[in-house]
């Protein structure tokens, strides 16, 4: 392991030669002795003599090093994980606070769609430890919540934060483009997906459609659309539906048709109760299991504390010796 060390205040290193003063200067407090040659050689004494000098040098050395505040550089380590870069694009429109269409058959008030969504997505996020998640919510326009990150806590907190008051509009185009924007300038791990969770659809103008098509293609993003069906609403898979004469197609069917024309992978799910939502998410979980490469940032470590601690230790040892020192010769 060879960590490059950097110094915050390298000028302090000019003081390093001072650390070797103890080798040059003699101890101030010494006893006079008539004939040192008469004293028998004693290895332990010589060792202690050398040790004292070394301790003094080390103490000064560590103080000077500590003053220069050394630290290792922030590092990024490439890791290989199983998982994907996933952008969660969640609908925050007020209709999300309604119960599921299929859930109220037993007469009890069921879980609202947004609560079920955040619960299931929390599970989903927890089950995929190596994924990077980003998050966008949208109602009348997109809200940038979280860039693509590996930080579990941030993601979970963001998912929890989706509950709350909302507006009655569904600007799905803005949500998708913002979601695609998350992947811009992020290294491609090889497995990218956008999970679009909405109830119903919204209309997307031609410009935005073109933009979505381009971006999803260029950034290699697979799109998973989970539609939470309105009570009594249309199913997007209902092929038998024929619109009335002179009327446009309902927005979700139109959107589905548009998504089918994308050059990038697309898969649509429809959920009308928490169970089917869980099934949809489990399916996505299955599909997005390609190995990915990503870089993990490891912050630099500050060594100055350790330096000062070591210096304090050396000085403590020297003080101990001082305590053992003979002050009176007789």
């Amino acid at each position: 392991m060879n960590i490059p060390i950097f110094f915050d205040s390298p000028w302090a290193l000019w003081l390093l030669p001072l650390a070797f003063l103890p080798l040059v200067l003699d101890r101030a407090f010494t006893q006079r002795y008539s004939w040192v040659a008469m004293l028998p050689k004693d290895r332990l004494s010589d060792l202690i003599g050398i040790l004292l000098k070394v301790l003094a040098v080390l103490a000064l050395l560590f103080i000077v090093l500590g003053l220069a505040s050394p630290h290792s550089q922030q590092q990024s380590i490439e890791r290989i994980g199983v998982g994907a870069q996933i952008a969660l694009v969640l609908d925050r429109s007020a209709s999300m606070d309604d119960p599921f269409s299929g859930g109220d058959t037993n007469g009890k008030v069921a879980e609202t769609k947004s609560v079920a969504a955040s619960r299931l997505i929390t599970q989903f996020v927890k089950s995929r430890q190596n994924d990077m998640f980003g998050m966008i919510t949208f109602s009348n326009s997109a809200m940038y919540v979280l860039p693509l990150t590996e930080n579990r806590e941030a993601i979970l907190a963001a998912v929890q934060a989706t509950a709350g008051n909302a507006l009655f509009q569904t600007n799905i185009g803005s949500g998708i483009t913002s979601g695609a924007g998350l992947f811009d300038k992020v290294p491609d791990s090889g497995s990218r997906a956008m999970i679009l969770l909405s109830d119903g659809g919204g209309r997307i103008d031609a410009d935005t459609q073109q933009k979505i098509r381009d971006w999803l293609d260029r950034l290699h993003i697979g799109l998973y659309w989970i539609v939470l069906r309105q009570p009594g609403g249309l199913s997007i898979f209902d092929t038998s539906y024929v619109p009335p004469e002179d009327a446009v197609l309902p927005p979700q069917i139109e959107l589905n048709e548009f998504f089918k024309t994308l050059t990038s992978p697309f898969h649509a799910y429809e959920a009308d109760d928490p169970k089917s939502l869980a099934a949809a998410i489990a399916d996505i979980n299955q599909k997005e299991k390609k190995p990915i490469r990503y870089h993990e940032q490891i912050p630099g470590y500050d060594f100055s504390q350790a330096c000062f601690l070591l210096a304090a230790l050396m000085i403590g040892l020297l003080l101990g010796v001082k305590y053992l020192e003979v002050r009176t010769w007789d």
Binding site: D26, R27, F29, T30, Q31, R32, Y33, S34, W35, V36, A37, M38, L39, P40, D42, L44, S45, D46, I48, G49, L52, V321, L324, E325, V326, T328, W329, D330
Partner: protein, 286 residues
């Protein structure tokens, strides 16, 4: 004035050749008590000494006189080591002790009507610590008492080799005061130069040099002469080693002096004049 100086008595085992009358057996003819023989009045014209008995007994009828040896003075020198190591000492420095001993020698010599001289040396013979032999001891006593407050520098003791050039040709009694903390071969060389004199080595050792070391602890010591530094971790076996080393050194010094047929006189702590008197009774034939 010099009441505090304690004297000792000494004698020499050889005949002095000094003409000046003193108290030692001498080869000098003169007004002594020691009968030496007869000679004719013509060769020793001193009519006071005519030996009538011998004159009558001589068939050739010559007149005989008795001749006697006088008692002569013999020079006494104190040669003091003023090297750095003499600065050491717990209660008093070895130099202060030297001053005491030299003063005692000066007083004793004067009262024994012997001339006294003082020579101090470190790496060279110190001309400022030099006092030529004299029957009047005032100057020497002044010098030896000034020695009390002298603090030697960081110098060695190589000047011992040159001391012989400051000594008279006639055989003298020399007190060589030093701690003899010098290499053995140098000491042997210097001693062999001094052998025409009667040398009494006075060995000054301080008990705090080896016996009264601190019990336990770490200390750094500086050599008084070379300035060499060592760190000592004093503990039981280290102290035992130091004492053993000094005892070995004592045996070595004794062996060297006995090779020159002289016994060393060890002074440890304070100077005891009576012990020196005892030394002369024990080791010097009267």
């Amino acid at each position: 004035m010099h009441n505090e100086i304690k004297e000792f008595s000494y004698h020499i085992s050889w005949r002095s050749r000094g003409r000046h009358s003193g108290s030692h057996a001498s080869t000098q003819r003169g007004m002594g008590m020691e009968f030496r023989g007869h000679t004719t009045l013509l060769s020793y014209p001193d009519p006071r000494r005519i030996d009538i008995r011998q004159t009558i007994r001589d068939p050739l009828e010559q007149v005989y006189v008795r001749i006697f040896n006088q008692k002569s003075a013999t020079p006494v020198f104190a040669i003091a080591d003023l090297s750095g190591s003499m600065n050491f000492g717990s209660k008093q420095s070895k130099v202060a002790l030297t001053s005491k001993i030299a003063s005692a020698i000066a007083m004793s010599a004067t009262h024994n009507s012997d001339p006294f001289g003082f020579i101090g040396f470190d790496d060279v013979v110190r001309e400022d610590w030099l006092c030529t032999q004299s029957f009047r001891s005032h100057q020497a006593l002044e010098l030896t008492s000034a020695l009390k407050n002298f603090e030697p520098d960081q110098v060695g003791s190589a000047g011992l080799n040159d001391v012989i050039r400051f000594l008279p040709r006639e055989r003298s009694l020399i007190f060589l005061i030093s701690d003899f903390h010098m290499p053995m071969n140098e000491l042997e060389d210097s001693l062999s130069l001094l052998m025409q004199h009667h040398v009494v080595p006075v060995v000054l050792w301080d008990s705090s040099e080896y016996k009264n070391l601190p019990e336990f602890g770490i200390t750094s010591v500086t050599d008084c002469e070379s300035g060499e530094k060592r760190t000592l971790f004093l503990r039981k076996d280290m102290r035992a080693n130091i004492v053993a080393s000094f005892e070995a050194r004592r045996a070595e010094i004794e062996a060297l002096f006995m090779k020159f047929d002289i016994a060393p006189f060890f002074v440890e702590g304070d100077f005891d004049a009576d012990a020196l008197t005892e030394y002369f009774h024990q080791f010097v034939a009267a």
